[in-house]
Symmetry: C2
Subunit: 395 residues, 2 copies
């Protein structure tokens, strides 16, 4: 059944291919974006490795190819509440997909200004969306799908699989060691950066608005996204998705892919013993589509899925790319404050039970190196590769 869907942050790395995928599946999609991600490129003096077009050229191309019209509202949801409220009230979306947050951990740590921007932007953005749904009386109508992060769980090694959001625990009495009934709680959060902190705070917004106002919310705890193109963005070069390789917005695997393509050593921070969860961008758009077509029922608590398909140790990924391409490894100081090495096992059956068929790393990696990073390698600025944000100024 066709849904009216607002995609907040629909011009971004995940938002744009999601918009096209939902449109291609017959939904009526409208983008809300303040284009800040393009201004951040200017701030950092870097560009997407792939030559992305303006948002108006993107949606016009989609229309020319026979796709449905995609509306665009250029507004800042963290600032322009009146406009956001009016848009939601007039358009009455069945679903809102919320990507409109500052999404880089290193960017959030660059300076006090960047910390404060990330907090102010992400928290007001999320709260404004929730508040506008309630103010328009759409609590029971509009399903909110939020892009969270696996990082809310933290990266301590645990004997157990990380659950999908909720953890069964037994409270232990400090008085006499008596054991209580078991209860389910939101998994105890352990953010590793200012960016991750805002995502753990988002969980409390969702918990509260679900409890008090009955909002139906799906929170997707996404792994690190890799890859660039989806079936829809491949239809025309003018639809191409962005590819970030810089030290702030570039994600680890895409950075390795680009480094291999240009003959740069693969930059491993610390021991590379960090184990992380990954997902291909094509699976991201599939997952969001599945979440939208399977909303929580009225009265259901916030639904949480771990949106990730596999876990790898960072140095193993570097070795894998080395094996495929011959690129050397370069070990650098770790700017983050984090465990040197960690194990990570993740429960992720929820989305697969809804029909997700994952793309594995081994299947897609080489294609990505040659078709995307190789093709646009001339656009790379070498000076933008180093990661310069530090988690503490004085150490």
């Amino acid at each position: 059944m066709q849904q009216r869907i607002l995609v907040l942050g629909g011009d971004g790395f995940c938002g744009w291919p999601t918009t096209l995928h939902l449109s291609s599946r017959g939904h009526d999609v409208r983008i809300v974006d303040n284009l800040v991600r393009r201004r951040q490129d200017e701030e950092l003096g870097v560009q997407s490795l792939t030559p992305i077009r303006t948002l108006s050229e993107r949606v016009e191309t989609w229309r020319q190819l026979g796709g449905q019209d995609i509306g665009v509202s250029t507004l800042d949801i963290a600032r322009d509440y009146a406009e956001l409220k009016a848009l939601i009230g007039a358009w009455r979306p069945d679903a809102i997909v919320h990507f409109a947050e500052q999404r880089s951990a290193p960017y959030s740590m660059k300076s006090p200004w960047h910390k404060r921007y990330t907090v102010d932007n992400n928290l007001n953005a999320t709260h404004n969306v929730l508040c506008a749904i309630v103010e328009n009386g759409l609590e029971e109508h509009c399903h909110l799908v939020h892009l969270g992060t696996m990082g809310v769980y933290g990266y301590k090694t645990s004997r157990f699989k990380l659950p999908e959001g909720y953890q069964r625990v037994r409270l232990l009495s400090p008085e006499d060691g008596e054991e209580s009934e078991d209860v389910e709680i939101l998994y105890p959060p352990d953010p590793g950066s200012i960016y991750h902190m805002t995502k753990t705070q988002d969980q409390l917004f969702f918990y509260y608005y679900n409890k008090n106002d009955g909002l139906r919310i799906t929170d997707l705890h996404q792994g690190i996204v890799w890859g660039t193109e989806t079936a829809e963005t491949l239809r025309d070069e003018r639809l191409i998705n962005r590819f970030d390789y810089d030290g702030d917005f570039g994600t680890v695997l895409n950075r390795f892919i680009m480094q291999a393509a240009i003959g740069h050593p693969l930059t491993v921070h610390g021991t590379g013993g960090q184990t992380r969860a990954f997902i291909h961008i094509r699976d991201t758009v599939q997952c969001i589509h599945l979440a939208i077509e399977n909303p929580p029922v009225l009265g259901e608590r916030v639904r949480v899925f771990n949106q990730t398909t596999e876990t790898h140790r960072v140095r193993d990924l570097a070795q894998l790319i080395h094996g495929m391409t011959g690129a050397e490894l370069q070990y650098l100081d770790n700017p983050r404050i984090e465990a040197l090495e960690n194990e990570l096992r993740v429960e992720n059956q929820g989305l697969q039970n809804l029909g997700l068929a994952p793309i594995t790393l081994s299947a897609g990696l080489l294609e990505e190196v040659s078709d995307v990073a190789g093709k646009y390698r001339e656009r790379c600025k070498l000076g933008k590769i180093p990661a310069r944000s530090r988690w503490r100024a004085r150490r």
Copy 2:
């Protein structure tokens, strides 16, 4: 040993008597306040039952009585980051007491504007303070004392005492029921209003800045404050503390006290079966003094105390006042979404171990009714007594 102490929100109901108490104990105290609480009185068309003076008259009176000079910086810590940073850098406080948040649950629920104001103000205020301490390189020097609320725990009935911040739990594996090592976690939060939600989000700010930057932080989970005067505010009528009786900022026991003094029925919302934690304002100022004189050591996790001395069921308090004064009870609809009845047992030995000698309700109540509420009864506006904020617009 004398400390330099910034009191953020030092013009408010808790902030003003705390400022005087710390000054009287020999500390060098400076107030930072944007005077918003006085503007909220104007917004709501109400005044403190007690005739409070301007902040400049307050500090001048204190000086005339032989007290130390108390500096004043009129700035909005949620907005004026550059000024806040400069003040902290120049003044290098040993401790910062942070009261500068919107502190009323009903006010936070009055309208979408009030929800958004509370979120934007409280979260940016707290984050700006943390960020400014780090930017000035005072992570290891400056102790942050924050006024939180017992409400972060929620008001579900538990078989156990609520601990002081941290709960020992046993994680249960969803795979095979295998039990893990026991771990200590922040008590799972369960906010009951937008206001309370921001306080649970504050906990994540503190957790992160303590972990990443090594800040020393004490978070005081305060019960509902009652009473008006402290030893210091009683020294001159021009030092009098505020007394709120209106439906937004008035706390339940002070409202009963005022209602008894003017012959108004005691307004009980719902069944009055809500059990809450209480503390007298004189104990509040004592507790903050104790927290400041006993800071966490470097490397210690966020220290949490439950700043409350006794628990009571709301209808039992109404009965107690009825017995003392003859005032009748009036049961009204409950505008809140909450459990009708709950039990509440609270661990609160931490501050008592540091030397807190609590004032009990039975000892102070009648004096409060006659000396404060009775004395200023003519200033009461009857129309401001009803609580009009509703937790959901449509029910």
